[in-house]
């Protein structure tokens, strides 16, 4: 496969994953704003979760309202990670790697782009927002389903999975980090009612409420939630799950190409240094510090993959 193609596949699926996570974060923001007394306050932490706060402030300053925050995250062309920009980025990459995709996958991503281009043409009214967010998530699932149902399990598929799960690992870590760090500057609040509402919202963003309930019952407790979202390998958006998928795809590539590269060693190191710790050890080390380390490591792995597989000249 061309290095350019591998890179195109990788970024196509990073972008798609990002669009879905952004929609998830906006949905959480909506819910928090509607269920908590201080409404628009929540959007500040949502923007931070999405690492879209800096750009937002450049444009709007410090005043944050639902309307401006949502607009920035969904459809602002100046925001490189806005849903419309990443969906267009995914679609441009899909055009670039068209020969590596089945017709179904191409059509799924092309349709996603056409739908969202129309839906996000103008400002989204509050009453339409739930529908728009639902479409974004559904389209992402549609593309994933087309991949799952029609693509060969070869190196193309490995790069698709690497892109998806590097992005997801990064996004999940950010969501946990910002929620924890921003909302709980004071460790004494752990266990309070407010705390539980916030943790509950993290579960919601990551579609983990049901899974958590099955595993731990009705009460959202920070320690268990952290255990679930960081270390539970059954949970498809947990850091451990992402790490396992990354490792297995790397192993496939190593076998397929009969070649071990540096990023393989990094992925293996990730599971030893970060994902084999217990939750208590992580809390002791500091959840925020742990997540920052983790994100740094993920970024390093991503950069190394680009070099190892010759994405660029």
């Amino acid at each position: 496969m061309l290095g350019k193609t591998a890179g195109g596949l990788y970024w196509m699926f990073r972008y798609l994953e990002r669009s879905e996570n952004t929609a998830r974060m906006i949905a959480a923001g909506m819910r928090l704003a509607l269920t908590s007394p201080d409404g628009d306050e929540e959007w500040s932490s949502i923007l931070q979760s999405a690492t879209m706060d800096w750009g937002y402030q450049q444009k709007y300053g410090t005043s944050i309202t639902r309307a401006t925050a949502v607009d920035w995250m969904l459809r602002d062309r100046e925001n490189p990670s806005s849903v419309i920009n990443v969906v267009e980025g995914a679609r441009n990459n899909a055009r670039l790697v068209r020969t590596a995709l089945t017709r179904e996958v191409w059509e799924a991503v092309n349709q996603t782009w056409m739908l969202l281009r129309d839906l996000l043409k103008s400002h989204v009214k509050e009453s339409d927002l739930p529908y728009v967010l639902q479409v974004i998530r559904q389209q992402s699932a549609y593309v994933r389903g087309a991949v799952s149902g029609t693509m060969l399990r070869n190196d193309i598929h490995n790069f698709i999975r690497l892109g998806t799960f590097i992005e997801r690992a990064d996004n999940t870590a950010r969501i946990i980090d910002v929620k924890y760090f921003v909302l709980l500057p004071n460790a004494s609040a752990v266990g309070s009612t407010l705390d539980n509402v916030q943790w509950d919202s993290i579960l919601r963003i990551l579609s983990g409420e049901g899974g958590y309930r099955l595993t731990y019952g009705q009460d959202p407790r920070p320690r268990e939630i952290a255990q679930f979202l960081i270390l539970d390998r059954r949970m498809p958006r947990s850091l451990a799950y992402c790490g396992a998928v990354l490792a297995s795809n790397m192993q496939h590539l190593a076998r397929d190409y009969d070649q071990r590269v540096h990023s393989h060693a990094l992925i293996e190191a990730l599971s030893v240094t970060h994902l084999s710790r217990g939750v208590d050890e992580i809390f002791e080390f500091g959840l925020h510090e742990f997540l920052q380390d983790f994100m740094g490591f993920i970024a390093e792995i991503s950069a190394q993959i680009e070099v190892d597989y010759r994405f660029y000249e």
């Binding site: 496969m1 061309l2 290095g3 350019k4 193609t5 591998a6 441009n92 055009r95 670039l96 068209r98 020969t99 017709r103 191409w106 059509e107 092309n110 349709q111 056409m114 190196d155 190409y257 070649q259 597989y309 010759r310 000249e313």
Partner: protein
């Protein structure tokens, strides 16, 4: 100007249904317009979802446009096709012989059949190709021959496209779409298949592998990138052939071979189907500013390390000034009378012709020698006085830049409009593959249709559409 009635491929010249269309007409009569309108919209949705689009330069808003597709097929009989394809094969063989001659002994010039300056002063002539022997002696591997019809048995070649003819993906997708929407029509008609084109293209390219190739030839398609107007087609062809679609920056010359950067290192390419123009192909040998090409590829090519299809410098064969000599060229190299006619052409470089052209602008079509895609041309009969006056000045300023032709009464084929069938002018571009193994012509080709009533301009960049083209089994 020609005042004969237009020949309609369904209704002839006297409004009598040609038997070729009898079955189709019967089917059409039994269909409701509402259902067909729905089908027409469905077809557009399919094209849009599949991304069968072309990019229009300089139109930000409509960066990607659909080429309008018309659901009424153009039908050609097996007998008509046999004659056409014989003429095309003859012409394409002559073109390849001509290209070889031009870059070697120039016998045709020595014989006094073609003025030396037609070559020496031609911008499409590449001195870098002099003495080069392409693998298997093939210069133009992929040719599109533009034909127009003016009567029951009258076909003219309007233009040869020996450089990088485009549109073949539309030929294939149009057929797929028709099969999908009107399967019953294909039960009623025995339509010759076009679907082998990608397989034949791959075979033809692989058969043209260079001496340096050991083992299975590695073929790749070279595209200028996703912003090129024909990018869809480039990726389509690479996909259907199962080969890599590369850009210049994926390639590099290593150890005398052109190699592509893969996830496992560099891998040599044997045959490159390039859809990048000559001047952008190699910044070391041609335009130094080009980022689209591969530095040094011409040196590898000359040394037999890679086959470039089509060969650099083939453009001289489809140059519009050379076109006017094509009947002589066919005769010279095949020793036979040309089966397909040329449209009579005035070369404005010739003072006598220029005088005639200037006096008769309102009746003529004037084209730029190096223009393409319907740009920079004057269609006399439909042009305003002001446009004609402006063109007259351009002509006088640089006569050798232009040729002129009479306006032909292009045949029409009905299109489907809201009110039912309505005749529109068409042309036809069949696609030809040439390899050391021989010449292969896909039955049919791309029918382009002027969607505006009375218009003779069928180019997609000028708002033309396309139709599925059926060649029936006899």
């Amino acid at each position: 100007m020609n005042t004969r009635p237009t020949f309609d491929e369904m209704w002839g010249t006297s409004r009598e249904l040609r038997t070729l269309y009898a079955t189709f007409q019967q089917w059409f009569e039994g269909e409701s317009l509402a259902r067909l309108r729905k089908k027409q919209r469905e077809a557009e949705d399919v094209f849009r979802l599949t991304g069968i689009t072309f990019n229009v330069y300089g139109q930000q808003e409509a960066a990607e446009r659909l080429i309008p597709f018309d659901i009424i097929p153009r039908i050609i009989s097996g007998r008509e096709w046999t004659r056409l394809s014989r003429g095309i094969e003859q012409r394409v063989r002559a073109i390849n012989a001509f290209l070889h001659d031009i870059y070697h002994r120039q016998e045709i010039v020595r014989a006094g059949r073609l003025p030396a300056e037609m070559i020496a002063k031609n911008a499409a002539f590449l001195p870098q190709m002099i003495g080069v022997k392409p693998a298997g002696g093939v210069y133009t591997h992929i040719v599109g021959v533009d034909l127009v019809r003016t009567g029951e048995d009258e076909f003219y070649v309007l233009e040869d496209n020996a450089r990088t003819p485009s549109g073949v993906s539309y030929m294939l997708e149009n057929r797929e779409t028709m099969l999908h929407m009107f399967p019953e029509l294909f039960t009623k008609h025995r339509v010759q298949s076009v679907s082998n084109y990608p397989k034949n293209l791959h075979r033809s390219l692989a058969a043209s592998a260079p001496a340096a190739c050991d083992g299975n030839p590695v073929v790749a398609v070279l595209t200028p990138g996703i912003f090129n107007s024909a990018y869809y087609e480039h990726s389509f062809l690479a996909d259907k052939m199962g080969v890599e679609l590369v850009e210049g920056h994926d390639l590099r010359v290593i150890d005398g071979r052109v190699a592509m950067r893969t996830t496992q290192g560099y891998k040599a390419i044997d045959v490159l189907y390039r859809r990048v123009d000559d001047e952008y192909l190699d910044p070391l040998n041609f335009n130094p500013d080009s980022a689209l090409g591969v530095p040094g590829i011409m040196d590898v090519y000359r040394a037999g390390g890679i086959t470039i299809a089509n060969a650099p410098g083939t453009g001289i064969a489809d140059d519009k000034a050379i076109y006017s000599y094509m009947p002589d060229i066919v005769q010279f190299y095949t020793g036979e009378k040309p089966i397909l006619q040329n449209v009579p052409t005035w070369r404005c470089s010739d003072p006598q012709s220029l005088t005639y052209v200037l006096e008769n602008l309102a009746d003529l079509v004037v084209k730029e020698v190096h223009g393409s895609g319907g740009y920079g041309m004057l269609v006399g009969p439909t042009a305003s006085k002001k446009e004609i006056a402006a063109f007259r000045d351009k002509l006088k300023a640089k006569p050798s830049n232009y040729i002129a032709q009479p306006t032909l009464a292009l045949s029409s084929v009905p299109i489907f409009t809201n009110a039912g069938l309505a005749p529109r002018h068409v042309d036809l571009r069949p696609y030809v593959l040439v390899s050391p193994e021989g010449v292969k012509i896909t039955p049919g080709g791309l029918t382009r249709v002027a969607l505006k009533k009375g218009s003779l301009v069928v180019n997609s960049s000028q708002g033309g559409g396309t139709k599925d083209t059926w060649v029936l089994e006899d």
